[in-house]
């Protein structure tokens, strides 16, 4: 048994330990509270900056206005050359593994054509065994600042629209760059608009045989009116050396149109402001 002095000593020692622990807890709590306050402050400031748009990429406005998105792809980068001060939308395309001649029928993102209609389907014809889109970037839009006013191509000829030429000038012949274009097909300088499916199918087969990835896309608007286009995934060389059929003329344009008017205000792309020139009505050069 302890005598009272021993017990008093033990009691006072335990009381001291308790007081120390209490102080330590208090200081830990103060540190934790300080950290929590700091975190909250940072979170509040961050949320404020985020909501104010300070963290938004500078080209986000451009992308939003473009509203373009390719099936199974995501918009990733945009580049502006100092010389042209023009912008483009680039897309990384995931690998496609289809080998059939008519490789797939799939829905296309409705975001692409919100103004013109809803997609009805796509038929893609891709060379067998090829993996042309794997690891490549696709360019499907380029600003042109011009209205679509041009002379109809004669049979056996083609021309590249101004924006296609601009994209080719900027992105060049790199094999990893794929241009996503649409063909306007003319017969005797008349645009084939009535029931073009048979023509498009034949053209898709022909171009496929020439090594292109040809795509027939059909969109149906809210009124049930369908629109069909024939599109290509092509390299720069394939575009420049396009082989027209003798009985058709071709106007080749970017898959998605882009005009300054599509943005509500002058856009900045990759940190470079885009100068919007006076509207021109130049006829695109044909090759």
């Amino acid at each position: 048994m302890k005598n009272y002095e021993e017990m008093a000593k033990d009691v006072l020692h335990r009381i001291g330990e308790y007081e120390e622990e209490k102080k330590s807890r208090r200081s830990r709590r103060a540190v934790a509270a300080g950290a929590a306050v700091s975190l909250c402050t940072v979170a509040v400031i961050g949320a404020g900056l985020w909501r104010s748009g300070a963290f938004a990429p500078e080209n986000s406005k451009f992308k939003a206005d473009m509203g373009t998105e390719v099936t199974e792809a995501s918009v990733t980068t945009g580049v502006v050359s100092a010389e042209s001060t023009e912008a483009a939308v680039l897309t990384d395309i995931p690998q496609k593994t289809t080998n059939d001649k008519v490789s797939e029928v799939q829905a296309v993102s409705g975001n692409d054509y919100t103004e013109t209609g809803t997609p009805g389907g796509t038929v893609t014809m891709q060379p067998e065994g090829s993996d042309v889109m794997s690891g490549r970037r696709i360019i499907y839009s380029y600003p042109s600042y011009s209205e679509a006013s041009y002379a109809s191509p004669e049979n056996g000829t083609f021309f590249l629209m101004r924006e296609v030429q601009g994209a080719l000038d900027e992105y060049g012949s790199d094999e990893n760059i794929i241009y996503y274009v649409v063909l306007d097909i003319f017969s005797d300088r008349h645009h084939i608009l009535d029931n073009p499916q048979a023509v498009y199918k034949a053209e898709a087969d022909r171009l496929f045989a020439l090594g292109y990835t040809s795509i027939i896309e059909t969109y149906t608007d809210q009124n049930g009116i369908s629109t069909t286009v024939i599109a290509l995934h092509a390299t720069a060389d394939q575009l420049r050396n396009f082989v027209p059929a003798e009985n058709y003329g071709y106007a080749i344009r970017m898959h998605d149109e882009w005009k300054p008017g599509m943005a509500n205000e002058p856009v900045s792309f990759n940190g470079t402001g885009i100068a919007v020139p006076d509207e021109t009505k130049d006829i695109a050069t044909s090759q």
């Binding site: 048994m1 017990m7 033990d10 009691v11 006072l12 335990r14 009381i15």
Partner: protein
């Protein structure tokens, strides 16, 4: 107000540790024996008494001043003991026949009770139930009134009177069995 109250006030209000030491000196043995009447183990009772003093030193509870400091201290000690019993219910009943523990208790008895006659009674109390031991300790050894004992044991005065009556009867029987003449005690 007894000395314990003034010592405690010095400790609580002025941080005078000697006040707490004085309390331990004056109340330690009585508290241990009282707690032993609850837990039936003198060593556990000592630990609980120490816990009671530590509680006084850390929580610094306020004495409401309704009774004596000792009554208040024993009430705190009893609560500590009951918490201990609840926590270690299975092991709370330790044999009081343990020679070493009895020896320790006897040393406390000798120091605290002093009178041989009372020591004999206290030893006879070991065979009684905890409630009988408690009430006998508080009334007979600590010389508290029935009302004070009722306050500590959280019982009504009438209940304590009844309990005390039965405890005395049981104690008498126990003393007679051990060959003591109860009337002479």
């Amino acid at each position: 107000m007894d000395n314990g109250a003034s010592s405690y006030r010095r400790f609580r209000d002025n941080g005078d540790e000697s006040g707490l030491v004085e309390i331990i000196r004056d109340y330690k043995d009585g508290l241990i024996l009282y707690l032993a009447s609850i837990v039936g183990n003198i060593r556990t009772a000592e630990e609980l008494a120490e816990d009671t003093f530590v509680l006084l030193g850390t929580k610094k509870p306020r004495d409401k001043g309704k009774g004596s400091f000792r009554t208040w201290l024993y009430t705190i000690g009893r609560n500590v003991a009951i918490d201990h019993i609840r926590k270690y219910r299975k092991n709370s009943e330790v044999s009081i026949d343990d020679i070493e523990l009895v020896s320790e208790e006897e040393s406390v008895e000798a120091a605290y009770i002093r009178q041989e006659r009372k020591i004999i009674v206290h030893r006879a109390m070991r065979k009684l139930s905890p409630e009988y031991r408690q009430v006998l300790w508080l009334v007979y050894f600590e010389e508290l009134s029935n009302k004070e004992a009722a306050g500590i044991m959280k019982k009504s005065v009438r209940s304590v009177e009844s309990l005390l009556y039965r405890a005395k009867k049981s104690l008498r029987s126990q003393l007679e069995m051990e060959g003591f003449d109860y009337e002479k005690l």
